[in-house]
């Protein structure tokens, strides 16, 4: 009998969870819907007003930023390479480039000094 009792409680609790759960899932996604339908535009508009004018950076985000590595040094190296090669690579290429570069020239050769001025970040 205890089993049955327990069992009954379980079933009824089951129904509660079922209804509650569905309501919550729906409301959750409803809120999300609402936000992206109404909230977001407002947000973006206010943001635009605030950052009026000086909001170019976001646009010109490009893969090359990924060279800059957490872990730190890669960037400077690749940068150096770039300064030399006057172009952008993503991390992988940068590494390759370093390899080629090694063969082509001593990264320290004074050649490099001619190519900088127009490349300052």
């Amino acid at each position: 009998m205890i089993y049955t009792k327990l069992y009954i409680d379980q079933i009824s609790e089951g129904y509660v969870i079922l209804i509650t759960g569905l309501l919550i899932v729906f409301s959750a996604l409803l809120i999300l819907t609402a936000f992206f339908k109404y909230g977001l535009p407002v947000l973006l508009y206010t943001y635009k007003i605030i950052t009026k004018g000086r909001d170019k950076k976001i646009k010109d985000i490009s893969p090359n930023v990924n060279e800059k590595f957490t872990g730190e040094i890669a960037a400077a190296i690749s940068t150096a390479i770039h300064l030399y090669l006057k172009e952008q690579h993503d991390e992988e290429n940068a590494v390759l480039t370093i390899k080629q570069a090694r063969k082509l020239y001593s990264p320290w050769s004074s050649k490099i000094y001619g190519t900088h001025n127009n490349l300052r970040k």
Binding site: Q10, I17, V25, F26, T33, K37, L44, N66, F69
Partner: protein, 440 residues
């Protein structure tokens, strides 16, 4: 030189052919008196043949042939079928092939105690299985999924998110069904999530609720249902192309299937960047227990959309998720060790799983039709895309696309189906969190 070699090698060869020849040079036994060696020789040469046979007999008792139970053979066959389906019909091969191989590995008969089986502490499989038991792999998979998901379709047409919610009916209905079949609450919760049609979510929830460790108020320990639940979830996900079409035909009219939806608007990069952050906050505030899943999902997506962390996003969506997929697949497969896996419970779970997929699909379809009551003109939804709400990404979206083409070979629903499809992922993660909060 040559000589030296010959001598050297002959000696070392003699070491082990000696007994056969029966001669007595013990040139390289530094450690004991000749007498004792004599003993060795006699003792070993006389009864040698018998002993060799004993050895083989003894070894035979270790082999799979000696220990194979019918259960093992059945499971191995199932494993081979999984692999066959994956290769031949291209059903989710990246899931079925690792899982299938795992099923075979887990059912090679072995003698317990040699740290071979996945359930033996100290075995390699057991260590790799850790990531499943502790629910560590699923969030990492979600990280990768986030890093490869484009939520544009959802941002462009947010109301389609509700279809992802509707499909969760499958989760809760199955949960209730499991209760009726006599599973206790936590087990039922874990079983219900199969209806979410999301492997990682299913593994995550079952590892928290039905892990064979938790103790219930009434003192009993919950069953370990991770294996059956995971297998059921993944099997039915792979079978979506078989399960869904008939239901779609059944519940939609020709006319509905012909509805064309207007192309979604373009979405700005800025919106894409804001989406993961806002979605993360809203969903986890509502359902904090789903944090590991939703947190990682949207983290991955932020890595993808930030435009500054492409290299991290790339790693997350390629090598990292590949590694986790390999380990997850093979260990989940191996967890189907026959003696533990082949039980009435497993059978019930498979039954419930089938129902849950059907209900989830129906939920999505019917809710789409329901929404149409309130939508007019080119706002109307093609109810077929409701079926994509079950997630099982991206197969159910593809199924919808295919079904749409059957009715009108110029009606391309893939883009639209992606919205409920990814919403379904979010939906079942939230549902998992809710169930966990109530029963965890």
């Amino acid at each position: 030189m040559k000589k030296l070699f010959i001598i050297f090698s002959v000696i070392s060869l003699l070491v082990f052919i000696r007994p056969a020849l029966g001669l007595n040079t013990n040139s390289n036994t530094q450690t004991l008196s000749t007498t004792s060696v004599e003993q060795v020789e006699e003792n070993s040469s006389e009864s040698f043949i018998d002993e060799a046979f004993d050895g083989i007999k003894q070894f035979y008792s270790y082999t799979g042939f000696a220990n194979a139970a019918s259960g093992n053979l059945i499971m191995i066959l199932i494993g081979i079928i999984f692999i066959y389906l994956g290769i031949k019909f291209d059903y989710e091969p990246l899931l079925l092939i690792p899982i299938g191989t795992g099923v075979i590995l887990g059912n090679i008969p072995f003698v317990a105690g040699n740290q071979t089986g996945i359930y033996e502490t100290g075995s390699v499989l057991n260590y790799l299985y850790f990531g499943v038991v502790k629910g560590i792999y699923p969030p990492l998979i979600f990280l990768g999924i986030g890093a490869m998901t484009d939520f544009s379709s959802l941002i462009a047409n947010p109301k389609l998110m509700l279809l992802g919610a509707a499909a969760q009916i499958g989760v809760f209905a199955t949960f209730l069904g499991a209760l009726y079949l006599g599973f206790n609450l936590p087990e039922a919760g874990a079983i219900g999530i199969i209806g979410g049609a999301d492997g990682p979510t299913a593994i995550f929830l079952s590892s928290k609720l039905a892990n064979g460790i938790n103790i219930l108020p009434d003192g009993t320990t919950v069953k370990n249902l991770i294996g059956p639940i995971a297998i059921a979830a993944y099997s039915y996900m792979a079978l979506v192309p078989v399960i869904q079409p008939p239901i779609m035909k059944l519940l939609t009219t020709k006319k509905e299937r012909l509805i064309r939806m207007k192309p979604p608007r373009a979405v700005s990069q800025k919106e894409k960047m804001i989406f993961p952050i806002v979605a993360l906050l809203l969903t986890t505030f509502i359902s904090p227990s789903a944090l590991p899943l939703l947190g990682m999902l949207f983290f991955g997506n932020l890595l993808k959309e930030s435009g500054r962390t492409e290299r991290l996003a790339d790693t997350a969506r390629t090598k990292l998720i590949d590694i986790v997929t390999i380990l997850l697949g093979v260990t989940v497969g191996a967890s189907t060790q026959a003696d533990i896996f082949i039980t009435k419970d497993s059978m019930l779970i498979f039954g419930l799983g089938a129902i849950s997929f059907v209900i989830a699909t129906m939920g999505g379809l019917l809710f789409a039709k329901f929404m149409n009551l309130f939508l007019k003109g080119d706002e109307k939804i093609n109810p077929l895309i409701g079926a994509a709400g079950v997630s099982a990404v991206p197969d159910s979206a593809r199924v919808v696309h295919a079904e749409g083409l059957k009715s009108d070979k110029n009606n391309y629903l893939l883009m639209h189906a992606m919205a409920p499809n990814v919403a379904g992922v979010i939906g079942s993660a939230i549902a998992a969190g809710i169930i966990l909060s109530f029963l965890g």
